[in-house]
Symmetry: C2
Subunit: 252 residues, 2 copies
């Protein structure tokens, strides 16, 4: 048995989730905390890479807490608080559950959901610094209606090559988008997208494209063409990492 | 004529508002930004001290932007964005207006309002780190009803010596509290208090006392006695700076 941890983190201070030697990464902090809590190096495996500056509200990972003597040194219900004591304050373990040994936090994922937050307004909000994309212009300078029309075209099974960072080596670029939704509350535009998987920078390029639609640079009805072109240069710019949140991962 | 700026800041990185030589303070950042924007050292005067780690949503200060030649080098409507370009991202100028020369941002204040935010729950929220007091326990372990009863006793004109940090040299310790209110939304307990002025650490000691009431250590009906005792040791502990926000200052 392994332990599945759900965590939340502010990505601002980290070079992403994935371990990169001694660079500050979320995985490095988890490895160190797990070693403190369980008393030995644990096998910590994450559900996904996240880019530098990207946040997570419900990231999942597994920890193998069984020591050489085949003993578990910390009871399950004590693990979240024990880990949080050992973790920096921008990472928090929300809950812990047992999962079978053949469960893999990355390969067992059937659906992932991301949220992207854009704050409209000319004056930035210091309390949201690094946690939203500051648009730097008022919301009435964007056509939210056109953005809503445009995003519907992402739903379904498509080759998303046009929405993949150039240089990515992934071969299968077909993904199925299940949900795509734009909501506006006060001056925060929130884009929510779920899929069976995402190509590198896919959400950020989709958001950059939707902003081009909002600004009138791209028409909503051009989206099917842009998608089928498989041409990265026809989609919008990659939106900043700081507005992106891995919201949920789904398992069977 | 001087310019009144309303600003918002996250206090986490600063040793408070007030200038302390080259220590990182909000005032130091404003002085530097004003010099960049206006091209010379401006006279920057704040409305209030704030402690290290305390935040502000609507802090007011004046800047004298008239140079030696009696000229104003930056038009009023350009000042917020120009200042924000020169300021760190945890400080933001919200708006700018002209005020007469005899206006003083501190002495002209007739009312100040503070907010204190407490987050209930055993698991901390990394996105609110440094921006709330993390209670570390669930909300049902507090009697919000008793806290609401207790806070009513602060309203009115009282000698608040019992709620002043020891060692403070202020002579007149009588203040008039206009409003005092506790609201709960999800797991955030928000306390809002306005007065004609506040003694040193007064809001934080009031909050510490209200938490003692919530936990059953102090009875709501004991508050009048604690106030009239003028005895600091009878009030609760000073609540952490990180939950405190200077929300508004009022002028005639």
């Amino acid at each position: 048995m392994k332990i599945l941890l759900k965590i939340s983190y502010v990505g601002t201070a980290y070079c992403g989730y994935q371990l990169q030697g001694e660079k500050p990464t979320v995985a490095l902090m988890l490895n160190r905390a797990a070693k403190k809590v369980f008393g030995f190096e644990c096998n910590v495996t994450g559900c996904s890479r996240t880019d530098s500056g990207v946040h997570a509200l419900g990231y999942c990972l597994t920890v193998d807490p069984v020591d050489e003597k085949n003993e578990i040194t910390v009871p399950l219900d004590k693990i979240p608080l024990a880990m949080n004591t050992a973790l920096p304050r921008d990472i928090s373990v929300l809950c812990a559950t047992w999962v079978p040994d053949d469960f893999h936090p990355r390969y067992s994922v059937i659906k992932k959901e991301y949220i992207y937050r854009i704050r409209a307004g000319e004056i930035r909000d210091p309390f949201l610094d690094g946690r939203v994309m500051e648009l730097g212009r008022n919301i009435d300078t964007l056509s939210i209606e056109n953005m809503k029309k445009a995003q519907e075209h992402f739903i379904g099974r498509h080759d998303f090559s046009a929405f993949m960072a150039s240089g990515s080596s992934v071969k299968d670029t077909v993904r199925t988008v299940y949900d795509s939704e734009i909501t506006v509350k006060d001056n925060i535009i929130e884009y929510r997208i779920s899929a069976d998987g995402f190509l590198y920078n896919m959400v950020r390029i989709i958001v950059g494209t939707l902003l081009d639609v909002g600004k009138g640079k791209i028409k909503p009805e051009d989206l099917p063409d842009i998608i089928s072109s498989k041409d990265r240069s026809r989609a919008g710019q990659t939106a900043k990492a700081e507005g992106l949140y891995l919201n949920r991962v789904f398992y069977n």
